[in-house]
């Protein structure tokens, strides 16, 4: 402040900023990028640690015994799926009931804006089946969700088998304090969204669903399971959800802790953790992992069925079994034990997961970058905008009085009016609005009059909007 109140020093500072504007901006840019890249370097990042007290020490003992039976159930499921040509609802209902669950079904339908890629249909209809394991002596206030999508083809049969196996095993245990909902959802995200909307009785996507008959109170955490082979080599966790939302870091920590305990290889972004952080390849591996996370978040789409839970303040993750060409294989019993451990820990929760970070990046599963560390990099990049603006403003306020030929005086007369600023503002807003509304609005008319498909129509309208924008006089004026 003292600096700014002194006109001399202020003038010096301003002249420094205007003279060295470009170098400073470049410097900030490089510093920002370097800072960000440095975050992937292991010595600069923090190790993950469990913040939640209730899940602190690994005191649970995993005993899930019946992996083979789960696989057999999975095969049975596959057979029924093939026979019905979709979700075997009746079989699932019967099987879940036999395992002592309260079983409910939910049907839903959604009209698609574009025809479906492989089946060329406009309406998706499906049924979700879910069974609730009622916790003994619990008043139906809290619940956990384990879901497995019923995917087309031969995918994910083992996941459903394991889900039913776990349901059977969990049912005979006495220690549950929260209801556990076992959900098999059809049509992946659409089914999941229908179920979640119905559970919370909201309608944000204009979907038709039948109301749910049974509920388990407020859902504390959810896990979505994807498993397509009898044995796996590694387990992958997917965290990125809708609009780049992430679950609490403790959920990832929990997964990592159990993988370590049981001895399963675990990956994030499909990348194993490497020990050679000091080598170039090790470092670039970490950078890739972290950048993949950034990209996936930036895309805004949910990268698994768990992604839709996050909107409802439910911590959720997708775990995927991956079978690659590796010697060491893990069988389904071990996966079952891993999930059992995770669920028992979540069952111990007294509060929602809230202790750990919600904003983070992970260069590997054992290390994380919290928001406090990556924001300076962003700040350094953002300060460039500020510097440029400052520069322009200073130039407007006192134009360079250097000229001897009087050019500067003429320019001073034509100081920019409000109108000249307002025009680009309005135009850019209009363009945005047009890009938002027009493609879907014109889609039908375009399909009627031109030989294009719906998807093409949207893209073409977007291009048309851009082209129209180029034709505006303001943009060509400069």
């Amino acid at each position: 402040m003292g600096l700014l109140s002194d006109p001399n020093r202020r003038r010096a500072l301003i002249s420094l900023l205007t003279r060295l504007n470009a170098p400073i901006c470049v410097l900030c840019y490089f510093a920002g990028v370097c800072w960000f890249m440095g975050l992937a370097f292991e010595p600069f990042t923090l190790r993950t640690y469990m913040s939640e007290n209730a899940m602190g020490s690994t005191m649970v003992e995993e005993r899930f015994p019946s992996g083979e039976r789960a696989l057999a159930t999975g095969r049975e499921f596959a057979a029924h799926k093939k026979k019905v040509g979709g979700m075997p609802v009746d079989w699932l209902v019967k099987t879940m009931q036999a395992r002592g669950l309260e079983v409910f079904t939910q049907s839903f339908s959604r009209t698609l804006p574009f025809p479906d890629e492989n089946k060329e249909r406009y309406i998706v209809k499906g049924t979700n089946v879910y069974g609730i394991l009622r916790a003994p002596r619990a008043p139906r206030t809290e619940a956990l969700v384990l879901s497995a999508p019923c995917s087309p083809g031969d995918n994910n049969n083992q996941a459903v088998g394991l889900l039913l196996g776990l349901a059977h095993y969990f049912r005979s245990q006495i220690f549950w304090a929260k209801d556990i909902i076992f959900l098999v959802n059809e049509h992946d995200l659409i089914g999941m969204q229908a179920w979640l909307e119905s559970y919370h009785h909201t309608n944000t996507t204009g979907m038709d669903w039948s109301p749910l008959q049974g509920r388990g109170g407020s859902i504390q955490a959810a896990l979505s399971l994807e498993l397509s082979s009898d044995v796996i080599t590694s387990f992958d966790i997917v965290l990125e959800g809708l609009n780049g939302q992430l679950p609490n870091l403790d959920l990832a920590n929990l997964f990592y802790a159990f993988c370590q305990k049981i001895g399963v290889l675990c990956t994030i972004q499909g990348k194993l953790q490497r020990n050679d952080w000091d080598s170039v390849s090790g470092y670039s591996h970490a950078v890739q992992t972290m950048m993949l996370m950034v990209m996936k978040q930036a895309s805004g789409r949910p990268w698994g069925d768990h992604g839709l839970f996050l909107r409802y303040h439910i911590e959720a993750a997708t775990v995927k079994g991956i079978n690659s060409f590796r010697q060491y294989k893990t069988d389904v019993t071990t996966i079952g034990r891993l999930l059992e451990g995770i669920f028992r820990k979540l069952n111990n929760l007294l509060e929602r997961l809230h202790q750990s970070y919600f904003f983070y990046l992970m260069p590997s599963l054992s290390h994380f970058v919290s928001i406090g560390y990556y924001m300076p990099a962003f700040g350094l990049l953002a300060v460039i905008l500020l510097l440029r603006a400052l520069d322009l403003w200073v130039q407007f306020a006192n134009p360079p009085a250097v000229t001897a030929d009087g050019v500067a005086d003429i320019e001073r007369q034509s100081s920019p009016g409000v109108l000249s600023v307002l025009t680009p503002l309005v135009i850019s807003h209009l363009t945005g609005a047009a890009l938002y509304f027009l493609p879907t609005r014109f889609q039908e008319t375009a399909v009627e009059h031109f030989p294009v498909s719906e998807t093409e129509a949207v893209v073409l309208t977007a291009i048309a909007v851009y082209t129209a924008g180029l034709a505006l006089p303001h943009n060509t004026h400069r």
């Binding site: 008043p139 909201t202 109170g217």
Partner: protein, 642 residues
């Protein structure tokens, strides 16, 4: 109504039944109706003929005891003359104690055990008489009743939620957590203060956190909770109702509860109440009900009735381990060897209604005694084990009733009335409470009374209240709403809604989540805040009345008159409590705030203050060194400077 009751009571005097007689009363009835039906079971006619003597003796005692119970507020329907021998009353003791256990095998394969211990004491606390001699009645409760002028007291502790869809209706419904409702005598002047004191005393007696009951969770329902015993008036100013949905029930609540029994847990049915087994179950509920009842038909003398009930449901899957069978030993890890010596009657009833030919389960040892009673609108048949008879214990001197399942578990039930409740919406600003009430009766509609008591920190938008059934607006015929006051009292909403036949009625109301003061948060704010169960009280058309098939084999006396009293029965259904997350600050925030403010004050304010108070002036350009030296010399010389 009173005249009608008297008439009914008079009937009872004239009535006697030739075979077995059982009273299974459901004290949840608001109007205090204990509906009793006595019926002959044709199937066991042969059995009974074999042992008329023993049967006879049992019936006689039964009727004597049934009289005070039912005279309380009963309506009976026995309609044929009686031998005179029974009408000579045996000399009445001042107090008497009865115990019974009802076991109901449930559809789902689980098993429901309901204990009931009843002490009736001919005494009157109301007239200010000092009572100092206690025999069977627990002194601790007696003193409380006389000190706080309590007319009726109902307290229940429940761990778990009753699954109506799987288990049907319970004999003694209760909400999860603790529930307490008390009618005070109209002599009490300051009800609120008495209530406060009473809850604290009860908190000590039952080792429970009842002291957390204060004005923010106490309501005065205007219609839902009527006195169950005899009462002069029903002015709801003398009623207090509170629930603590968060209360956890465990051994420390069971032990004081058992101590109230005359035999403790030393003898009789109470031997079975071992906590390690009782809390290894799906549902556990224990309750104490105190109410004044009539001692005789004319209701000249009053007596005080104490009912202690304990309901527990054992889970087939967690303790079955493959074998689908239940025994007393397996359930309670004890067998019975004797009745409580102080008990006038001690019986075990097994509900065998769904199992007339033993096709569902097998019962051993077999018992010749059968009885029928109308419970919850349904005529049920029970096998009876009388523990006061030595024969019951057989040669091994211990009774271990064994139920072996034969069939597999059935589908979910469709109880005539059930309800559920949930919070809709997402985010931490607003939400919507949905209450769904199902009427599964195929052709009859019936009214229900809904009571919702919502804590003040959920600000109900009562203008958004909608009641819809079958897609149409369903206008409640009675609404009683008391708005909340922040930090003082909760919302109270009572409605009388007609449920159309075979429909779902949905009641929605929106709310806003209040931001609490930072000291008002619980130590675990991220767990959420509980909203107690809403209470649905209804007169439900009974399944007995639904049965229009008169060709079915029934005792003749029970079918002659159209059964008006049985046409509906009273049930109370509790919905699940809600767990609602409120906007919760990050509680490390005070630290952050302190850091931030200190920085702002130190850096920002200091500089700003400096800037504001400084006076600016144009500074002379600095004179050169030579000039300054010259000036100094000129000053010494006394010449004006340059």
């Amino acid at each position: 109504m009173a005249a009608y009751r008297c008439l009914r009571c008079a009937w009872l005097l004239l009535v006697f039944i030739s075979s077995r007689y059982v009273v299974v009363s459901s004290e949840e009835t608001t109007q205090g109706h204990d509906r009793v039906s006595v019926a002959d079971n044709p199937q066991t006619a042969a059995d009974t003929a074999k042992q008329p003597l023993e049967e006879r003796r049992w019936e006689a005692t039964q009727v004597d005891k049934a009289v005070p119970d039912d005279a309380a507020a009963a309506a009976h329907k026995q309609d044929f003359p009686v031998p005179d021998s029974v009408l000579t009353p045996t000399p009445q003791l001042n107090d008497e104690f009865k115990e019974e256990l009802v076991i109901r095998p449930l559809h789902s394969g689980d098993i429901y055990a309901s204990f009931q211990f009843r002490t009736v004491w001919e005494t009157d606390f109301t007239r200010g008489s000092k009572v100092s001699h206690y025999r069977l009645f627990p002194k601790s409760l007696g003193q409380v009743i006389s000190k706080f002028s309590v007319q009726e007291l109902h307290i229940s502790f429940t761990q778990g939620y009753w699954r109506t869809m799987q288990w049907g209706q319970p004999y003694h419904p209760s909400p999860p957590g603790a529930e307490l409702w008390v009618w005070f005598q109209d002599t009490v002047t300051d009800v609120d203060a008495t209530w406060k004191e009473l809850t604290n005393v009860l908190s000590g007696i039952f080792c429970a956190s009842l002291n957390f009951i204060d004005s923010t969770n106490t309501v005065q329902p205007s219609a839902s909770f009527k006195p169950l015993g005899i009462a002069n008036g029903t002015d709801h100013r003398f009623l207090r109702y509170a629930t603590l949905p968060r209360e956890i029930v465990c051994t420390e609540n069971l032990t004081p509860w058992k101590k109230l029994l005359p035999c403790g847990s030393k003898a009789g049915l109470a031997v079975l109440l071992k906590s390690e087994k009782l809390f290894h179950s799906s549902f556990h509920s224990q309750a104490v009900h105190i109410r004044p009842v009539c001692q005789d038909q004319q209701c000249k003398t009053m007596s005080l009735e104490l009912r202690q009930t304990l309901n527990v449901v054992f889970d087939l899957h967690t303790s079955g381990q493959g074998k689908r069978e239940w025994s007393l030993f397996k359930m309670f890890s004890r067998t019975l060897t004797e009745a409580c010596p102080l008990a006038a009657s001690s019986k075990i009833y097994i509900d065998i209604t769904d199992n007339p030919q033993e096709e569902q389960f097998e019962l051993s040892p077999a018992t010749p005694l059968l009885s029928q009673a109308v419970v919850l609108g349904d005529r049920r048949t029970f096998s009876v084990y009388d523990l006061t008879q030595q024969v019951t214990f057989g040669t091994v001197r211990s009774l271990n009733v064994l139920i072996r399942w034969k069939s597999t578990e059935g589908d979910m039930l469709r109880p005539l009335l059930h309800a559920e409740r949930y919070v809709a919406g997402y985010g931490l600003q607003t939400g919507e409470i949905h209450t769904l009430m199902y009427n599964n009766h195929p052709f009859r509609s019936f009214p229900v009374l809904l009571l919702e008591s919502v804590p003040w920190y959920l600000r109900l938008y009562i203008h958004t209240l909608t009641v819809t059934s079958k897609g149409k607006d369903n206008k409640p015929s009675y609404i009683h709403y008391e708005p909340s006051k922040d930090r003082v009292r909760p919302h109270l909403l009572e409605m009388l809604v007609q449920l159309p036949p075979h429909s779902v009625t949905e009641i929605t109301v929106q709310f806003e989540r209040a931001l609490l003061k930072w000291t008002e948060y619980t130590p675990d704010p991220n767990h959420g805040f509980y909203v107690g169960s809403s209470v649905i009280s209804a007169l439900v058309p009974s399944t007995v009345a639904m049965n229009t098939n008169i060709t079915e084999e029934q005792p003749l006396f029970s079918t002659f008159f159209p059964c008006k009293e049985e046409s509906s029965y009273f049930v109370r259904v509790y919905t699940e409590p809600l767990l609602v997350n409120l906007p919760t600050p990050d509680f490390s925030m005070p630290y952050n705030v302190i850091c931030l403010t200190c920085t702002v004050v130190a850096v920002g304010y200091g500089s700003l203050y400096n800037l504001l108070t400084r006076s600016f002036q144009i500074e002379e350009p600095n004179p050169g060194l030579a000039k300054r030296i010259a000036n100094i010399i000129r000053k010494m010389r006394g010449v004006p400077p340059l």
